[in-house]
């Protein structure tokens, strides 16, 4: 999975979502999301493989004062 989306990929994603993006909006949306996507991609690789959403509530419960 690449973390930097190009114009064409943005338009494909938008088309899949059924949203009519004009070219400028598609490019802007893709450009705007590229840095956070890259950061998220970088961090995802360091996650524990076994992590799962239910651990959130468990962590909340454990951390109560």
């Amino acid at each position: 999975m690449t973390a930097t989306i190009g114009d064409e990929e943005a338009r494909i994603l938008a088309a899949q979502a059924g949203v009519a993006l004009d070219d400028e909006a598609a490019v802007n949306a893709a450009t705007a999301m590229a840095p956070p996507l890259a950061a998220a991609d970088r961090h995802a690789r360091t996650l524990a493989f076994e992590a799962e959403p239910s651990q959130y509530l468990a962590a909340q419960r454990r951390a109560k004062r």
């Binding site: 999975m1 989306i5 943005a10 994603l13 938008a14 979502a17 059924g18 949203v19 009519a20 993006l21 909006a25 598609a26 490019v27 802007n28 949306a29 893709a30 450009t31 705007a32 999301m33 840095p35 956070p36 996507l37 950061a39 998220a40 991609d41 970088r42 961090h43 995802a44 996650l47 524990a48 992590a51 799962e52 959403p53 239910s54 651990q55 959130y56 509530l57 468990a58 962590a59 909340q60 419960r61 454990r62 951390a63 109560k64 004062r65």
Partner: protein, 467 residues
């Protein structure tokens, strides 16, 4: 008498009404006078319902005469962000799309305030669909800061913050997905609490991002925030995500003070603020230390990682909620909100799921790193006092996300982690704009935040200043 009543806290007004020294009707008239004087300039209200407030105030006074008290907010006038549904009333959610939408049911939070005796003056301005950190609104007009109308209120609970600051009402429900209670509280010099995720029911409140949204009050004092949260918090059959954790009496807990409390000073990330905010925080630490707290230096986990995860959650969830309208009514969104929602469509499902499954480990890591060393973390709410409306207007372009995410830099990590955060007025800039500190605590430990914030307010007078 009316003008003086408007300057009281909600708790003090409630005590006076209970003691027969004030009436609900006089309190409503005092609010209406303030609204009449300042709303044209500040644009806090979307819909003021003076007649309804006057009528319900008269009913409250009649009940009081018979010795019937509905609850701890009997006769106290409030007003709320226009995303808390009341059956039969329009809830615009700050949008054009819902300009005429009539709510089919009443939100749990509003119903609980009604049951406690609170009055409702009307619906308040907000960022369109609660998606905006500045207080700009291109459909209903920008809200303006009560301390200087050239400056932003912060958002998205813009009308709530500026109206509480201007003493138009005694408290207000806001909502906080990435900082939307705490940021406007900081910019407008009022108190705001984002409770632990799940602490307050979201039933029949407009959703923005269900894994992050929190309901909470903006008030003049910490005591008022403690009172309002005591009323609205707790389990709700209408919202399966509302936590079953017991709700303590936060007002009684205020007396605990800060003696022996370990207050964390962050070693990194939260240090990136302007000089005036830095001085205000240093002063606040000295006040708390004088009151008996211990200041301890704490390391801070990788906040860039937490910020990236926040974006991966909020983007797809908000885009999912709005997808049908993006398809059918895209032109009815403002440029900024449409662009942000569309950006959420660009996040692959794998990224969203990675961010969600990272939430538990990252929360556990944050707690191990920070809350093993301190009881409360003291950090800034914003990177600076409020900028002007003009300089913070962002309508599109490739730098849109970067420019907007700068505002909630210090608030959104705690939405992702689900931790409670309390913003309290802590000073003013040289140009007279408020600065608010932020106290962050362990999950479901709002009580410690309130006792620390209250102790701080007992020793300072920032919250008593009126614009």
């Amino acid at each position: 008498m009316s003008a003086d009543l408007a300057l009281l806290s909600a708790s003090e007004l409630a005590r006076r009404i209970r003691a027969g020294k004030a009436t609900a009707r006089a309190a409503v008239e005092a609010c209406l006078e303030r609204i009449d004087n300042r709303n044209d300039q500040l644009n806090a209200f979307i819909a003021l319902d003076a007649a309804h407030a006057q009528a319900t105030a008269d009913l409250a006074d009649a009940e009081a005469k018979r010795g019937r008290w509905k609850g701890p907010l009997h006769g106290v006038p409030l007003a709320h962000k226009d995303m808390y549904y009341r059956e039969g009333r329009i809830a615009t959610c700050g949008s054009k799309i819902r300009r005429d939408w009539v709510a089919p049911a009443t939100s749990t939070a509003l119903a609980r305030l009604d049951a406690a005796g609170a009055l409702d003056l009307g619906t308040l301005n907000m960022a369109e669909f609660a998606l905006g950190p500045t207080g700009h609104n291109w459909h209903h007009g920008h809200a303006r800061n009560a301390w200087n109308p050239l400056h932003i209120t912060g958002g998205s609970s813009s009308g709530s913050a500026t109206g509480v600051a201007a003493r138009m009402f005694f408290g207000s429900l806001g909502s906080d997905t990435g900082g939307s209670i705490r940021l406007p509280a900081h910019y407008c010099g009022v108190v705001g609490i984002k409770p632990t995720w799940g602490r307050v029911s979201r039933a029949n409140a407009m959703p923005l991002s269900w894994s992050l949204d929190c309901v909470g009050p903006l008030t003049r004092t910490v005591e008022d925030a403690a009172l309002m949260l005591s009323i609205i918090a707790g389990v709700d059959p209408a919202d399966p995500t509302a936590a079953g954790e017991p709700v303590p009496d936060y007002v009684v807990g205020l007396a605990r003070g800060v003696r022996g409390l370990r207050i964390g000073r962050p070693a990194s990330f939260f240090t990136e603020v302007d000089g005036e905010s830095e001085r205000a925080l240093a002063d606040a630490r000295r006040v708390l230390e004088r009151l008996g707290a211990t200041i301890v230096d704490v390391p801070i986990p990788d906040m860039e990682r937490i910020g990236a995860c926040f974006t991966m959650v909020m983007g797809p969830e908000s885009a999912t909620i709005h997808r049908e309208w993006l398809r059918t009514r895209a032109d009815d969104y403002s440029g900024q909100v449409r662009a942000r929602l569309e950006a959420g469509l660009m996040v692959p499902a794998t990224f969203y799921l990675d961010a969600m499954r990272a939430r538990g480990p990252l929360l556990a890591d944050f707690i191990d790193t920070v809350f093993s060393r301190c009881d409360v973390l003291l950090v800034p709410t914003g990177t600076s006092p409020a900028p002007t409306v003009a300089e913070s207007e962002v309508t599109g372009g490739p730098d849109l996300v970067a420019r907007l995410t700068h505002f909630p830099k210090f608030t959104r990590p705690f939405n992702y982690l689900g931790l409670p955060g309390l913003t309290v007025p802590a000073g003013f800039s040289g140009s007279g704009l408020p600065i608010g500190l932020q106290l962050v605590g362990r999950p479901f430990d709002e009580a410690t935040l309130f006792s620390a914030g209250h102790a701080y307010q007992q020793a300072t007078e920032w919250h008593t200043r009126v614009p």
